[in-house]
Assembly symmetry: C2
Homo-oligomer: 340 residues x 2
DNA sequence: CTGTGGGATGTAACGGGTTTCATCGCGAGG
DNA sequence: CCTCGCGATGAAACCCGTTACATCCCACAG
């Protein structure tokens, strides 16, 4: 038994004859080592767990792809778990990953940054640290205090500033901002970036143009229809997400408005089909796959473990297509007062 | 130690006082059972492994979501692994899953159905069966012979027939078929369905309109440009995939052709953004998420294990949007002879 | 008052590897 | 020819739970 182990692991010298016999036996018996036994006695690298609300949606799938890729390159398995927004399930999953001795638990996606959130994360961080697992926050801001947490963000605020700046530089002054849930970190950061851009251009804030929602196509569609119905005055729409932008596009089209002739649209995410929408979307590319890869890399490499953790912010990139044009260059030019 | 186990598992009676003490200790020590030890000694359900070429791409992500969802509902973890088309890696992954004692290994995506493939699958099936794992083929035809394999397909051929029939019924006779790699099972099945529809309508097969490629946007774009340049005569394009259709749409648009005014397009897959393309796509909905769910359900439920395995074929559904219109209803009407 | 049944808990084996330590055999050097 | 030393291999401990089995103690019935 010991010899078999040595032969298979190659950790200690074994005679060629014995090795051959072992290999033959392994072959004929279809033998495979039992990971559990192996794990129990020593080695075995724990898997990398990715915890998100849902897989559906291009950005999450991209993060997952990045994680899987990087984990596989390091000989790790990657687990995919979804919470569907249920905190109880999130908690259970973290517990489960502790049992699994996961090398890293990556929590991805925006979150509501209230007091309870911080407590929850602190608890996760400590609990995971106690069993040698690493907590990684992906696409979320770092935690206050000195917790064993690795953070990989992308620059929501900077990106939104860049995007808003692009719109403003084109001459737009009345920009309808269709954001996400204001409680969510990403939504708030993007909104902050937009507001910052407004200030930078000396454009006064108009409350009626600042509309929250969710990051879904349906939300974009509904909010846009509402806005048109309400006769809001605007020349451009800044959608919190390409999905939102897609809904906006559909609603605008239905209303007989031309993009970008009548209304400009700015997206966010650069989903794969952004270029193929009825009007190809000017948007902001977010390096989702990179985000996943970086998360794994940071969690697994480096000897840190020095109380605090790494913190990386990935940049975003403006992708200029056809959905943004200076106002008034064609068609009615200035906004729209709905069908009133 | 035994008492602790009993208290936590609740399998045997333990006095309330002892249970309380155990719980307190667990709490203060942040104790969690070791899955490996637990697995070694008895229970512990193995994870469900999903093996695919890549995660990126809406259909794969949907399958993954279905698998994760159904696995989680049964208290199983789901592993995601990608092969990137490498058979060696596929083999390694199957081996790895045997070590992991995975409950099921789900291979998803079309495959080249040659002799070597069948041998490989047969080997996988037997090897997995030997350790109590189940092999599931998802989106692929069943294997010849009596192997312990579960198969979950969707009706590629029937769907393609339906789609082709839709085009033909609209009056199209010159249909450009932009298929996938003819060696791949899904591509061949779809093509067969299309040919069947042609026959059913008494339309002769035209070799120059039967163009293979890959299921990517780039392939659709390139093939379409080539076809236009070659001056092919056609009134409709049947794209093997919505991604291909997206590329076709882009190429047609660039060439100044109107869809569906000049050319009709039929897609396949009903990707989430199909409705939002420059012309919303008439396509065939494939129940990818269902596919994943069914795969897990079949693999985990049922006592079968009776040599052979289940075989389920899921239906598809025609989704009529705006990219198909009878030929000649507007514009040039009859195909296009390129820029020649 | 004693026998007995049963709840509560300790003991030990087991699962399947890895690793340390001990043993053994053989070739080379003294 | 003897011994030292090292490569090869066997024995046993260990990893950490679960569970069958053995104890032990107490309450209740006879």
């Amino acid at each position: 038994m010991a010899t078999v182990s040595r032969a298979l692991a190659g950790s200690h010298p074994v005679s060629a004859a014995t090795r051959a016999r072992v290999m033959a036996a392994v072959e004929s018996l279809h033998y495979v080592v039992n990971v559990h036994a192996k794990a129990l006695s020593g080695g075995v690298a724990g898997p990398v767990a990715l915890v998100m609300e849902q897989i559906i949606g291009p950005s999450f799938a991209d993060v997952a792809a990045g994680v899987e890729q990087e984990a596989a390159a390091r000989g790790r398995l990657s687990l995919v778990c979804t919470t569907h927004g249920d905190q109880g399930r999130e908690h259970d999953l973290v517990q489960l990953m502790r049992e699994q001795h996961a090398a890293a638990v990556i929590l991805v996606g925006g979150a509501v940054l209230d007091e309870a959130y911080h407590e929850r994360m602190a608890e996760y961080a400590r609990a995971l640290d106690a069993v040698g697992s690493r907590l990684v926050l992906c696409g979320r801001p770092p935690l206050p205090g000195d917790l064993p947490v690795t953070v990989v963000e992308y620059d929501n605020r900077g990106g939104a500033f860049q995007a808003g700046d692009h719109l403003l530089s084109a001459g737009h002054r009345r920009i309808l901002y269709l954001g996400g849930d204001p409680a969510m970190s990403t939504a708030e950061q993007r909104r902050a970036g937009h507001l910052q851009a407004l200030r930078a251009h000396g454009v006064p804030y108009a409350e009626e143009l600042d509309i929250p929602g969710t990051y879904t196509r349906a939300s974009g569609y509904d909010r846009m229809r509402d806005a048109l119905k309400a006769g809001l005055d605007f020349t451009a729409v800044f959608a919190g997400t390409d999905m939102v932008a897609t809904g906006v596009l559909a609603a605008l089209r239905e209303a007989g408005l031309d993009v970008p002739g009548d209304v400009s649209i700015m997206g966010f995410d650069d989903v794969p089909f952004a270029a193929d929408l009825s009007t190809s979307l000017t948007t902001l590319r977010v390096p989702y796959e990179d985000l996943g890869r970086t998360a794994v890399r940071l969690a697994l490499d480096g000897e840190r473990r020095t109380s605090g953790g790494d913190h990386v912010i990935l940049g975003t990139q403006l992708v200029i297509r056809q959905s943004v044009r200076p106002p008034g260059e064609k068609g009615t030019g200035r906004g729209r007062r709905g069908r009133t």
